[in-house]
Symmetry: C4
Subunit: 193 residues, 4 copies
């Protein structure tokens, strides 16, 4: 079974998610700076989520590159990941419109946490299919970033009820850490060529 369709479908969903998020930036009625000002937090949360979807697309791109066989399990693990990412526009809009208030900021972290867990389930599902000594298994091996991110999100959820700016800071920090492209899989693949 070819993997082109699972890539095309995932690309489609991620492209739509990244683009409909901008619809939360509602065109204001006034024509001056005071009309634009209330949109700033929505804009900022849009930038943050754009980067997160970009990171997921980037890593998904690398991950699928290592896949050889697409099974039913992989298809559903992939849909499960897309489900949590599809909720990102909603929590992005809610967090932005409420100026990073406690509950919206915590819920944003919850969706990030569930997406991170879904990504991890997808990786494990693929490794189970490909075998423990596959390229992917080796590449993921000491995946510090992947293991620390869920812990960071969980911490942020807790901290959002203490001071929600701590939570926002953690989301930005994790995004910055991931912006460094995931060269692990790339390295192992290249060394085998």
């Amino acid at each position: 079974m070819p993997k082109s369709r699972i890539e095309a479908f995932s690309d489609g969903v991620l492209a739509i998610i990244i683009t409909i998020m901008v619809l939360e930036l509602k065109v204001p009625h006034g024509e001056d700076l005071s009309a634009l000002a209330p949109l700033l937090p929505v804009f900022f949360s849009y930038v943050l989520s754009f980067i997160y979807i970009g990171i997921y697309w980037n890593n998904h791109h690398h991950l699928m590159h290592a896949v050889k066989r697409v099974t039913g399990g992989v298809l559903w693990a992939n849909l499960h990941l897309l489900f949590w990412l599809s909720l990102l526009p909603f929590v992005t809009g809610w967090m932005g419109e409420n100026h990073f208030a406690q509950l919206p900021t915590a819920l944003y972290g919850f969706v990030l946490l569930m997406a991170a867990i879904a990504y991890w389930i997808l990786v494990v599902t693929i490794i189970n299919e490909e075998g423990a000594d596959s390229l992917l298994a080796k590449a993921i091996g000491k995946d510090l970033k992947g293991k620390l991110s869920p812990i960071a999100y969980a911490t942020a959820i807790g901290l959002s009820f203490v001071n929600h700016w701590f939570a926002a800071a953690i989301y930005i920090l994790v995004a910055l850490v991931w912006l460094v492209p995931d060269r692990r899989i790339e390295k192992v693949l290249t060394s085998k060529d």
Copy 2:
């Protein structure tokens, strides 16, 4: 005529359907739990429809894999299926916002029923093109799940006027039965390789 474009177009439409459904989850104005609570039934109907679109994409993926020639008949049978699925965001939103009331729940079942019939027409159209002894014809042969689903939806439509929770329960049950990936086509294809 290559089948890549019919797959790409279907992937695109399904990716958009699955993603715009989340737009019915309107960002609430408040920032606390009481603002989120009314969205719960909408969220639940979103999850249900997400799974249904996932099932259709999954089965469509398997079905197209067995297709060798794309004719005008197949193109239109496919568009007919996409038409009914494109109504899913509407009935999902209506059912969710009205807390699974009688008529919305019945209409949801009606769209599921028509989509199931459209899928069956697509399968028959493909088998007519490929021949009765094609791989697909053999794989579909004793398609119990495919034959029982429309009956289940029709029952649910009727029951929704007695107790609409019965109908909702049937929709969930059928989705769970289908979540088990359709290994019939996969099996026959593998045994031929």
Copy 3:
């Protein structure tokens, strides 16, 4: 220059157009039949436009199949066609919500007319690139349907100011005529194989 990207982009745009049209079917607030009734004309105009986009996708599919070289002229002629089709959701919503009133019905016909002209420009651009004795030139040769459709739309625009139901009837009639898949190109291509 490969034609896969122009196909992928067109598929994407057409898939989005066909799907966002359903967003004009706004989820009503009531939960009974009286809430659904006002949506009937919107639903009917949605079905009509869905079929038209399906026809364009189908014919585009056949047309691109005959293309060998994608030049800048073909790219822009294609974008010009997509532009007019992208206005279909707007006029569909306007016509539906105003119960097929005069001006909306005339404007709907205008967009169909411009799309038909844009399709004709695309065909001519491709034939200019491929040469007058290309397969496409032969297949299009006596394209009666393609030549009569713009005349039908122009007539409908005029008639919509006399009786707008005449115009609606013409739109339905032309759609039905086109629903018969365009076997001309298919035939010539097959005869050459």
Copy 4:
């Protein structure tokens, strides 16, 4: 690493951007010309942005054609370009609904400027990967249009506070200059075949 997915994802995002812009053309409630008239500036700004996205898609198509290796740097430079283009529907709607008022017109130019800079960063990133004597480096060499566009946008931003119609005129002029397809890359590629 294959470049098909970066093309597919970019096509998806650009297809969605070009199509959701039409959602700013809100279906009016009246059914006569007076209901349509206020939409004219929104329609005009839609046409302008449609052409700009078409130009970017066209040039992106040519640019990716020259790429041989997709690295993490190229992926992120591409996402950065898509980010600025994703803001075009917002500024298009804001400029159109406010009849090309000063600040909206200036912000429209700012997004165009940032997209032009992002495109330039993408070109430089690709040339760095491909080498200074690659086909692309030669083709871009004396890229007058690419160098003058950002200057034109910056001038337009300044002029929009003097007379916003000057700014609008510059946006239209630059679009017209770019409508002439970019034959530079095409030429060099063809001469090598």
